[in-house]
């Protein structure tokens, strides 16, 4: 990694290339335009719109993680991946738990 030129192929894999950045950029643009078009033109019912734009956002997250942040290309053991999994578990618990308990509160009124 210190001398990217001595291992042409390896450095190509570990730092990404112009090609992978361009693919990532194009994908992220497409994944942004789809939800915008759907919401601005009211193309779908409420629930369907919700599902589609959330899927687009999650795909966009994956594009950024793999094409830009090179999640897969770090050395093993992949502490960052393990940390990220823990972070996502906490995120889902906090967001999901908050929505759940506050919805139950509303019914209580």
């Amino acid at each position: 990694m210190a001398q990217p030129n001595t291992h042409g192929h390896e450095s190509h894999e570990s730092h990404g290339s112009v090609k992978s950045y361009v693919i990532g950029f194009v994908l992220s643009i497409v994944l942004t335009i789809i939800p915008l078009v759907i919401v601005m033109n009211d193309l779908m019912a409420r629930t369907a719109t919700f599902v589609v734009i959330m899927i687009a956002a999650v795909l966009q997250l994956l594009v950024q993680l793999f094409f830009f942040m090179h999640l897969r290309e770090t050395e093993k053991p992949r502490w960052n991946v393990m940390g990220l999994v823990l972070g996502i578990i906490i995120l889902v618990t906090v967001v999901g738990g908050s929505i759940w308990i506050m919805e139950v509160n509303k019914i209580g009124y």
Partner: protein, 205 residues
Amino acid sequence: MAQTVAHKGNHAADHDHGHHDPNDLKVVGFWFFLISDVILFSVLFSTFIVLRNNTAGGPDGKELFELPGVIWETFILLTSSFTSGLATLAMNRGKKSQLIGWLVVTAILGAAFVGLEVNEFVKMVNEGAGFSRSAFLSSFFTLVGTHGLHVSVGLCWMIGLMIQLGRRGITETTKGKVTLISLYWHFLDVIWIFLLTIVYLMGVM
């Protein structure tokens, strides 16, 4: 004793093979910082989602949000995420002026983003939809403002780094820093995508 030495010798060879760069450790540490930031934002997102309908008779998202400005912000930030990636590519090829050039482009796009966001906030406050108007607006300004603050801090960091790169060139130290700031910048782009989806798009739905 001899065994321990032999073992140690092997170990050192393993390490050499796995090229232990001090920058690699910094990258892992930085990932953990980003993950702690994910937890910070998860709390702010939860607060916003729970309070989004509590407008206290004031304006809601549908009345307040102007999508054209938000769309500009989105594409500006997406492009800046891409250009910060190009900066790291230029760095890996050892091209200092290209690296600084892409960082300048990234910083200008970042500044444009912050400018648009401040403009949006000022407009909302002038319309009487300020931080203290309703629980919805308090949580909105806290969530979106925290992201904007992250971008602003990143901008200051980037400007400092450009000065250091100009003075010292591409060294092991500055290389590590460019890698970290580009990770940070991609991360902020991811947070923005969820802000766009959950706050703005679901707000106008």
